[in-house]
C-alpha cells in the first residue's frame, strides 16, 4: 500500500537551507533519511519543495481567477516536501515518518494514497 508523507517545516528550517553555516547539517539530516528509505527500497517518488515564499495560490470563482501571493494558509509549519512510499501498513509508514528530520521539530502528515480508480460498474 502507498502512503504519502507530507513533511512540514517551520520557517527556521527553511532558512537553514541557504545558510552557509547550517546548510550542511540541514541537508545532511535529510540525505541520511532519504538514503535510508532508498536503501530499504520503499520510495515510490518524492521531492523537496522550495520555500513558502515562492508559493502562489489560485482560485476560480464564478469564472473569475484570483491569484494570491503565498500559501493557502498562513501557518507556523508549511509543506517542505513529500514522499510516496510503498509499505505493508500504516504502522510501517508511521515508523518511516517518525525517522524524518521534520518529525522531530515540526510534523509529518501520513495519508494513504487512493488506489487507482477502476472503471465504473456497468
Amino acid at each position: 500500500m502507498q502512503y504519502m508523507l507530507l513533511l512540514n517545516e517551520p520557517e527556521a528550517e527553511f532558512a537553514k537551507r541557504n545558510d552557509p553555516d547550517q546548510a550542511a547539517a540541514y541537508w545532511g539530516g535529510w540525505n541520511a533519511f532519504i538514503g535510508a528509505m532508498a536503501q530499504a527500497g520503499v520510495i515510490v517518488k518524492g521531492d523537496g519543495l522550495q520555500g513558502p515564499h515562492t508559493a502562489t495560490t489560485v482560485r476560480v470563482r464564478d469564472g473569475k481567477r484570483t491569484v494570491q501571493d503565498g500559501p493557502f494558509a498562513d501557518t507556523k509549519e508549511q509543506l517542505g516536501g513529500y514522499f510516496v512510499i510503498e509499505v505493508p501498513d500504516l504502522d510501517t509508514a508511521l515508523e518511516w515518518a517518525a525517522r524524518s528530520p521534520s518529525a522531530s521539530y515540526a510534523s509529518v502528515e501520513v495519508r494513504p494514497v487512493l488506489p487507482p480508480m477502476s472503471p465504473p460498474a456497468s
Partner: protein, 407 residues
Amino acid sequence: MNSARDTAERVARASYGRLIAILSARSRDIAAAEDALAEAFASALRSWPDSGLPTNPESWLLTAARNVMKNQLRHRSIVEAAIPELLAHSETMVEDGATFPDERLKLLFVCAHPAIDAGIRTPLMLQTILGLDAVRIGSAFLVPPTTMGQRLTRAKAKIKDARLRFELPSADDMPQRLSEVLEAIYAAYGIGWDAAYGVEAGGRGLTDEAIYLGRLVVSLMPNEPEAMGLLALMLYCDARRDARRDELGQFVPLDRQDARQWKRDLIIEAENLLTAASRHARFGRFQCEAAIQSVHAQRPITGRKNYEAIITLYRLLAQHRPSIGATIGLAAVLVEAGQVKEAMSLLDELAADAKLTYQPYWVTRGKALHALGEIRTGNKAIQTAIGLTEDAPVRAFLRALLSSGAG
C-alpha cells in the same frame, strides 16, 4: 424455538468478539464483519428451530458469516480482480470449528491503536469485542447514539482505509501499546463506576464489561504484569461496590465501610493476581494502584490503616506516572496521616487550570484547611467541591463535612 434463540444469544455473548476478530483480521473491514455476523445470527434464528442446533454453533456462525462476506465480494465488481485471491484465502481459513484461533488480542490492539483518536478507543472495544450497540455506548458516554454511531463508523473506516496493522506490536512497542489498551479498558471501568449510583443510568454495567475485557487480556497475555495489575485494581474496587452505600442509600467513604460487605472472593482473586504480577518485577501504574487498594483491603485484617505503605505507594505512583489523580491521592492520605503541611504544598503546586474543576482537589483542600484550623476557607473549598459533584449522596456526605468543620 426458544432453545434456538437462547443458544444463539448465548453464543452471541460468548463468541461475538472472537468471531468479529477472525472475520476482520484479514480484510481489516470491521464494519463488513459486523454486518456479516449480524446476518449469520439472523439466519441461525431462522434455521436452527427446524434443522436442530448444530454441534458447534460457533463454527456454524463463522461459516455462515464468511459466506455472507464472500457473496458480498462477488457482487462488488470493483474488487473483481482481487476475488480469486481473497476466496483462496478464505477457503484455507475454514478450520475445524473447535480449534479456530483467538484473534481478539489483535483486535484490541487495533482498537487502541495510536492512530485512532483516544476518545473513541474504548467505544470501539465495547462494540467490536463485546457487541454493544451505539445506543448503549452513546448513553454511557453521554453522547447521542447517532453521533456515537458516526464516530465508530469513522474509526472503522480509518482502520480499513489507512490499513492499520492487524498484528501484535513488536517487543519494542509492546509496553506503550499495551498500556494504551489497558487505559482504554480502565476508562470503561471508570465510566461504569461513576454511573453505578449516578442519575445517568447509561454507563451502568460497564464495570462488568471492563472486568470481562481485563480478564480477556490476562488470559491472552499471561506474562504481562500490568494487565494483571489492572484486573486486580478493578476487582478490588468491585469488591467494595455494594459497601459504598448504606441501607438508606447514603454514601459511605472507604474508611467507614463495613468490611463484611466486601466481596471476599474478588479480593482474594485480586491479591493472587497482584502477587503473580509482582513476580515479574516490572513496576507499572496499574500494579501500583492495585497495591494501594490491597493495603486498604488489609485494614479489617490488621485493624489499622497502614498510612506509611499507602504514602510510599502514592509517592512511587506520582513519581513514575505523574497525574493530578496521583498527586491528590498522595495529598489526601498525607492529610489523614497528619502531614498536612506537605499536603498543602503539593496542592498549591498543582497547575491552576487542571485543578479548577477537579472535585477531589477541592475535597482534599477543604480537609487540609480544616486540619490546619482554617475552618472558613476550608468550608469554601468544600462548597466548591459540592458544586462540582454529580452524585446526590456524595453531595450530602460533603455537606455533613461542612457542618462538622464549622463546629
